[in-house]
């Protein structure tokens, strides 16, 4: 099993969700996060006080897939999330030791 963590632009979430649904991805978890990579922040001015905002709003999407679905899922996700500009985000992949379904204690890939 592999975990895919993708940090994406908030406005691409709907596209990514639809694309993953179309290839049969069963579930995912998202959270609102703030961060930056190479993309520069922006400047805000309040009554003469200038603030540089480095951490920009992003969406973090997490899903765990069986090994044989990894390439397909990552390809679909990256293509759906891409605008071609700085700030599109990153995808991180890691191995998962175990998965357990709380409802009936199913284990392994069968629990996904």
């Amino acid at each position: 099993m592999k975990k895919i963590e993708a940090i994406i632009q908030p406005h691409k979430l709907e596209d990514v969700k639809e694309a993953l649904k179309n290839i049969g991805a069963d579930g995912m978890t998202i959270s609102d996060v703030r961060g930056h990579g190479r993309q520069k922040g922006h400047k805000e001015v309040y009554r003469g006080h200038e603030y540089t905002v480095d951490f920009l709003p992003k969406v973090k999407l997490e899903l765990v897939v069986p090994d044989n679905r990894l390439d397909d899922t990552v390809k679909t996700l990256t293509e759906a999330a891409r605008t071609g500009k700085l700030g599109d985000g990153k995808v991180f992949i890691s191995s998962i030791d175990e998965a357990i379904r709380i409802r009936n204690s199913d284990r392994g890939e069968g629990a996904l």
């Binding site: 001015v45 309040y46 009554r47 003469g48 006080h49």
Partner: protein, 461 residues
Amino acid sequence: MKRLLLAVCLMALPAAGQTPPADAAAEKLAKLEAAVASAQSAGDNAWLLTSSALVLMMTGPGLALFYGGLVRKKNVLATMMQSFILMGIITVLWALVGYSLAFSEGNAYVGSFQYAFLNGVGLEPNADYAGTIPHQTYMVFQLMFAIITPALITGAFAERMKFSAMVLFMILWALLVYSPLAHMVWGKGGFLNAFLGGKIPCFDFAGGTVVHISSGVSALVCALYMGKRHGYAHEPMKPHSVVLSVIGACLLWVGWFGFNAGSAVGASGLATSAFVNTHFASAAAALGWSLGEWLKNGKPSVLGAISGCVAGLVAITPASGFVKPMPALLIGFLAGLACFLAVAVLKGKLGYDDSLDAFGVHGVGGTLGALMTGVFATNAINNALKDPSGQPLALGLADGNAGQILNQFWAVLITWALAVVGTLVILKVVDLAVGVRVSKEEEIEGLDLSQHGEEGYNLEG
């Protein structure tokens, strides 16, 4: 219509020929006069009660929202509370002695205890102040001004003053600075009262000196005395919700019609004049600030536009019942620009931390407005001052009375002096009694939790 009247008169002629008893005619006339007076009183009183409610709305929720949006999330409740609690404190104080010290006859600088506990302040009009409305209406209208004035100061020490210290400070400030100043400018026999026997006749229609310079300058003193917030200039201190501030500013704009047009103490043409001037100045000032910001920063901010509108309202306050509409536009526009420069340039250079710019808006805008009143005041708008032969007196430079600018200058100077000295002494006393600032830990935690044991936003339930 005229023909009809003529016909009625002709028909009445034979009856008049019968010479009714003179006392019957006199009685009829007296009844008629009473009916006219009652009708005028009804109209004036309706407007003044409405205005009183509008002015209270400026403090809560107007100012509470305006200031509440400008602070960080952890201080939103404490900031709103500083405005709200004054609606309680000042009201009680006003009923006990505040009104008396401001408006009863005393010496040239402060009233007496004649109206203490509202003794003698009933439903009969007080001819010195407002001859057509109950004295209590005038009292409650003035109360709303006494509430918002100290509430304006809270912008300067937002996010760092102890609640107990604020309460003590405000009680002393209301008694030692506000009431005497209101007496000097508006009270009978007051030193600066142009209409009721002042030595230096100052024109302040609705509170440029009494409300705005006094609060703005006191705010500066507070900011300097208390020092900067922890982390000022290197930690972000962005307004947590400019949305709340926009709502607050719009309520202030509407409430200000009661503030200025209500100060005509009647539903008169003068009230219309003040209403129009108020609106014009506010609109022009929003444009003035926005223009300044657009030129300097490349973008006109929403916070800038609403700050400008408030600056214009401040500046037109003393002038609103004395000037024509075109000067009102000019006063507003200049106030928008001047307050923008004071807040965005001057404050940064001088380095004081007036958290919500109470001085930059009320001190600077109020001073500008008071001086401009001396320039543009004209008896074409306000003819209440007459010479012995009944001719209206020249008011400002616009009427050829250049000396009025000097009178206004003295009034500004006296107000600045009273605000600086009074506030400094009161701060020192409060500091010795309870300490003015919260601890560093409490400040970092936020005043909502440390002073009130609550949080403003529990959105996750």
